[in-house]
Symmetry: C2
Subunit: 254 residues, 2 copies
DNA sequence: TGAATAGTGTCTATAAGACAATATCCC
DNA sequence: GGGATATTGTCTTATAGACACTATTCA
C-alpha cells in the first residue's frame, strides 16, 4: 500500500517516529520578535526605541523586542516585549515581516519576526513617563507612497539616532505597511483616543501618508464608509467652532 | 530564558562581548520555509502539494518546504525548496507570513516562514510532468473578498485532500494576500505566459478574486494603467476574431 | 453566411476635487 | 464683533458600469 521511496519505514506510526526524532540534529537559529511601536503627533510618526545598554550594537537605539520562548506564541512574545520594555499592555499589534539575513546580528544567526504596534499619543507619552529606558524617536521617511526603504530616526532635540541591527529597515517596512493599509482599512483610529474629530483623523492620515489630503473628499469618504459614528459630543475650549466627536464602529460582517 | 539583554558590563566592547557570547544558552526553535506555489487555470487557483512520505502527518499533503540552513537567507531557502521539491527555478516568490503556533508541528517547535510563489500554468504542469512527487491541488476558497481563513484542496479527480500541519491556513493566507495585491499591483501577469490577451488577464483576475469583473471597465483600467504594451501579434486559431496579444511593461519609477 | 468574441462609442451613475456660503464657538 | 474652524451645498471633472454597435476571424 505504501511506496518504497520513503525516508523512514512507512509502516512506522507517527508516535513511533516522534519517539525517535532527534531535535538537535541540525544547528538552529535563534528566533526573536521586534515591535515597531508607532504613534502620530506633531505632524510626524514616532516610534519607541530603547538604547542598548550592552553589546552588540552598544548605545545604538533598538526596537523593543526579545527572544521567543520555546513554548511561546509569536504574538505573545511581541506582547511580552511591549510589557517588559515599555510597560504597555493591550496594544494593537500585527505581524509585519520576518527579517532573517544571515549576518544581521553579529552574535549568531538571529531571525526576527517583526511586528507593528499602534497606540495613541497620550498612551505613548504616558508609558514613556512611567517607565524609564524608552525614548521617543521622530521618524523621517525619505520616500513617497509605498516605495519602501529605511527611515531615519531623530531624538527629541533633533539629533539623528543610530539604529541597531536592521531596525531602520523594519521601521521603514512598518511605515510602508501602514500606508498601504490606509487605502482599504480604518486603521488610523488605533492612533487616536476613543473619541476624535474628523480633522484629527485627517491629520493622522496625512501624517502616515506624508502628504495632504482633500478635506471635503476625506470627510465624505469617512462618513460614507460607515466606520464612524457620531458621539453627540463636541470638542471644547478650542477657540473656534467646536467639531463633532466621532468614535469608530466595530466593523460588522459585510 | 526570556530576557533579551545579557548582563555583561556595558563598557565591554562588542568584540569582547562576542568572544564571550554563548549561543547555546537558550533552547531554540527550528525554522523552516514553506512555499504556496500557485497557478491559475480552469477557473480555479491551483497549488503544488507533496504527499508526505513519512511521519509526522504521514500521507497528508504538504506545501514544498524545508528547514532553513544556519547560514542561509530565508528567500534562498524558499527557492531551494522549490528547486529540490518541484524542480523549479526562477519563480516569482514573496514572503507571506510567519506561522509559529507552539504545537503546529508535533516533533518540536517549528516556526515556518511562509512564501507565496506565482507561476504560469504551462510551467506548473511541465514541472509536475518532469518531476514525480508533486501533485496539483485545486483550491476551493470558502470565503469572499479578503475575509481570510483556511481553504480546501481537491485532487485532480475531485477528492478532498487532507492537508498537513497548518498548511490549509497558509494557503488561505496566500489567496487573501493575492486578492489584496490585485487592487493596487499588476501581479496577475506572473500567472500568465509572456504574451496574453486581455481576456486571459481578466480570467486570471476573476479566478483570483472569485467573482466576475466588468469587461469594459477592466479593459479600460488595464490599458490606462500603463502596465500593458501591445505586442502587435494576435492570437491564432481561436474560431472567432483573434485578440491582440499584450505583454507587461516593467514598471518604471513613478 | 453564421457563430463567436474583439474592440469602439456613448450614455448614465457615482466618487473626487474645488469652492462658496453659512454656522458656531471662544475671545 | 472678530477670528477661526465646522458643516452644508453646489458645480465640475474623472472613473465605473451598462449597453449598443461594428469588426474580424474560422468553420
Amino acid at each position: 500500500m505504501l511506496t518504497t521511496e520513503n525516508m523512514s519505514s512507512p509502516s512506522q506510526t507517527d508516535a513511533a517516529f516522534l519517539a525517535s526524532y532527534d531535535p538537535t540534529a541540525f544547528e538552529r537559529p535563534s528566533v526573536a520578535v521586534d515591535v515597531a511601536l508607532l504613534t502620530a503627533f506633531d505632524g510626524a510618526l514616532h516610534a519607541l526605541l530603547i538604547r542598548r545598554p550592552a553589546p552588540p550594537e552598544h548605545d545604538k537605539h533598538a526596537l523593543p523586542g526579545g527572544f521567543v520562548g520555546i513554548e511561546e506564541a509569536l504574538d505573545a512574545a511581541a506582547r511580552r516585549a511591549l510589557r517588559d520594555k515599555a510597560g504597555l499592555d493591550r496594544v494593537f499589534i500585527e505581524q509585519l515581516y520576518t527579517f532573517g539575513a544571515p549576518r544581521r546580528d553579529p552574535r549568531t544567526r538571529v531571525i526576527t519576526v517583526a511586528y507593528v504596534g499602534l497606540i495613541n499619543a497620550a498612551r505613548f507619552t504616558a508609558a514613556l513617563d512611567a517607565k524609564p529606558g524608552g525614548e521617543v524617536a521622530r521618524l523621517d521617511v525619505p520616500w513617497e507612497g509605498e516605495t519602501g526603504g529605511a527611515v531615519r530616526a531623530k531624538s527629541a532635540v533633533g539629533k539623528r539616532l543610530r539604529l541597531a541591527f536592521d531596525h531602520a529597515d523594519i521601521l521603514g517596512m512598518a511605515v510602508k505597511r501602514l500606508r498601504g493599509k490606509l487605502n482599504y482599512t480604518a486603521v488610523g483610529f488605533q492612533l487616536l483616543p476613543p473619541a476624535f474629530t474628523l480633522r484629527a483623523l485627517q491629520e493622522v492620515h496625512e501624517t502616515i501618508l506624508g502628504h495632504d489630503l482633500n478635506k471635503d473628499s476625506f470627510r465624505r469618504r469617512m462618513l460614507a464608509s460607515g466606520a464612524l459614528e457620531a458621539t453627540g459630543e463636541r470638542e471644547e475650549d478650542v477657540g473656534h467652532r467646536p467639531a463633532e466627536l466621532y468614535r469608530f464602529v466595530r466593523q460588522s460582517a459585510v
